[in-house]
């Protein structure tokens, strides 16, 4: 198994951290993983993305050419990363704030109203957890248990939001079921 995932959004949406959470869960399952963020000139409101690779065998390059999955949290990310998907790859997009439709017909689409779901569980900021839930339900790269048990380590000092985050993951998974 090898999954190459690009997570993208605007700064503040938590795409980098969502990627770390997936990587951490993979490590817990004794899988190989790498997480490579866009770095440097990013800021709140600007664009941010990260590349996460989860694999059963050695990962030589953490840089993704063609992705198996793209998770786009806002419109510019959809425009930028839709072309980077492999044929037959999975595009998860935040339909709460992305008005336009993806263009390609050779990929699988999964629309997730991440902001609405996040607000329904108590915090708009948990939209990143919603798409993580949808992703692990669709592509079983890591188990929900590994992801949920990694939350306190990846988000230290945010114990007050633990339940909200877990609910957001569950609701995200429910979108797929």
């Amino acid at each position: 198994m090898k999954q190459e995932i690009i997570l993208a959004g605007f700064g503040g949406q938590g795409v980098i951290k969502a990627g770390v959470l997936l990587a951490y869960a993979a490590m817990k399952e004794n899988k190989r993983c790498t997480h490579f963020p866009s770095y440097g000139a990013e800021m709140r409101g600007g664009t941010a993305n990260c590349s996460v690779i989860i694999s059963d065998s050695l990962i030589s390059s953490p840089v993704i050419g063609e992705a198996d999955t793209v998770i786009a949290m806002n419109e510019p990310s959809l425009i930028k990363f839709e072309p980077r998907l492999k044929k037959g790859g999975l595009l998860i997009y935040n339909s709460s704030i992305i008005a336009s439709k993806p263009k390609r017909s050779d990929i699988e689409l999964l629309a997730v109203p991440a902001n609405e779901i996040a607000e329904s569980v108590g915090s708009a900021k948990s939209a990143n957890m919603v798409v993580v839930g949808a992703y692990i339900a669709k592509i079983k790269a890591v188990s929900p248990e590994s992801v949920k048990s990694s939350i306190p380590i990846v988000f230290p000092g945010k114990e007050a939001f633990l339940t909200i985050n877990i609910n957001a993951i569950d609701k995200g998974m429910a979108v797929v079921k």
Binding site: M27, T34, F36
Partner: protein, 376 residues
């Protein structure tokens, strides 16, 4: 030592960025003094140490400039501390004057260059632009720096111990040459060495400070007498020759049956492995020689592999620096190829496999001459 300061157990699996792993590794290896000045893509090193050093009773200083940072390191090293600074290309350039002084004074210390695109301000993307600067000393005068090139978060975390021990053994500065990708990438690692109790590090017999009850020592690099300086230069030379004969590290992969050997370090070596694995699936036999010490350079093994395979391909993220050392090691006895991606662009495994195939096909190539395989 208060056991509470040991953050991670030896062998415990953790997920950190290369920069963070390096920072924790230095503390674990006994670093208690850092001074530096911010620059991307190494900022996680000072950021991490700014809180971590205080947990272990160390000192963290964000200096007003790189020049001031390196001279604080000179002072700390002269007093016997395991001192550390880190930067990226432009900042390392500014530190070169101080590094030359410290090398001349034969003081051990550790520094990291997390390389970015150059020359000039260049950009902040991963690059291997500073190989020449690292392996040729970098600053003025006749000196050498021990250079280690990690290719993973694991090596970023574990090389500091090796670096400090080696630097102190030879009384010589040691540097870690990483790049933006190795620094920024997060991957699982574990520490392979126990947390060093700094109180148990033996006091050095050449350091200054606390001289009550003993004769004063002087650390100085000004030698106005030409005879004294010439002797100092030859003393240094003998030391460098000793390091060369005793401390050369490299990793060899799939070289036994290889028809061509890739020589690459750091990120370029990691990506070359992708090419090698894919090549093997297609029946193409490529081997890898990854220098871990860039100085001393593993010239003997490269010379042997070159004579065995007849073809050597240097892959770098620049326009050709390490390839000159490869060329010298090969010494006219094999074909030398080069493929490079400068400017912060990272080659793909497929790209490298493509050029390796091309090099394998080439005939009647003059041995020893560098054949650039980029379409320029």
């Amino acid at each position: 030592m208060n056991p509470d300061i040991i953050k991670y157990k030896t062998g415990e699996k953790i997920l950190l960025k290369g920069n963070e792993a390096f920072a924790e590794g230095t503390v674990r290896a006994g670093c208690r003094f850092f001074s530096g000045y911010p620059i991307t893509p190494q900022n996680e090193i000072p950021e991490y140490l700014s809180w971590r050093l205080f947990e272990v009773g160390g000192t963290f200083i964000q200096a007003e400039s790189e020049v001031s940072a390196i001279n604080m390191i000179y002072g700390a090293a002269a007093c016997g501390a395991r001192a550390l600074t880190s930067s990226s290309g432009p900042g390392i350039s500014l530190k070169q004057e101080g590094i030359s002084y410290i090398a001349a004074a034969e003081l051990p210390f550790l520094y990291a260059n997390v390389m970015r695109g150059g020359p000039g301000l260049g950009n902040i993307a991963p690059c291997q632009s500073d190989y020449f600067q690292a392996t040729r000393g970098g600053g003025h005068g006749d000196y050498r720096i021990i250079v280690l090139a990690p290719d993973s978060a694991y090596e970023m975390g574990n090389f500091p111990k090796l670096a400090y021990d080696t630097a102190e053994k030879y009384r010589n500065p040691c540097m870690i040459l990483a790049d933006g990708l190795i620094g920024q990438m997060m991957e699982p690692l574990e520490f392979n060495f126990d947390f060093v109790d700094v109180e148990k590090i033996p006091t050095k017999d050449y350091v200054v400070g606390n001289c009550k009850g003993r004769e004063m020592r002087v650390i100085n690099t000004l030698h106005m007498s030409t005879d004294i300086l010439e002797k100092h230069n030859w003393d240094l030379y003998r030391k460098y020759e000793k390091i060369k004969s005793e401390f050369t590290l490299f990793e060899e992969k799939y070289t036994d049956d290889a028809d061509i050997v890739i020589v690459a370090y750091g990120t370029a070596a990691r990506i070359s492995m992708a090419a090698i694995m894919k090549g093997r699936e297609q029946g193409i036999k490529i081997g890898l020689l990854r220098p871990i010490t860039l100085w001393p350079f593993p010239e003997k093994i490269i010379s042997q592999l070159a004579q065995k395979t007849g073809k050597v391909l240097a892959v770098e993220m620049n326009t050709g620096q390490l390839v000159e050392d490869v060329q010298m090691a090969v010494n006219g006895k094999a074909e030398v190829y080069f493929y490079g991606r400068p400017g912060g662009n990272i080659p793909t495994g497929d790209e490298i496999l493509g050029v390796a195939k091309e090099a394998l096909k080439m005939k009647n190539v003059e041995p020893g001459r560098i054949n650039v395989l980029n379409k320029i």
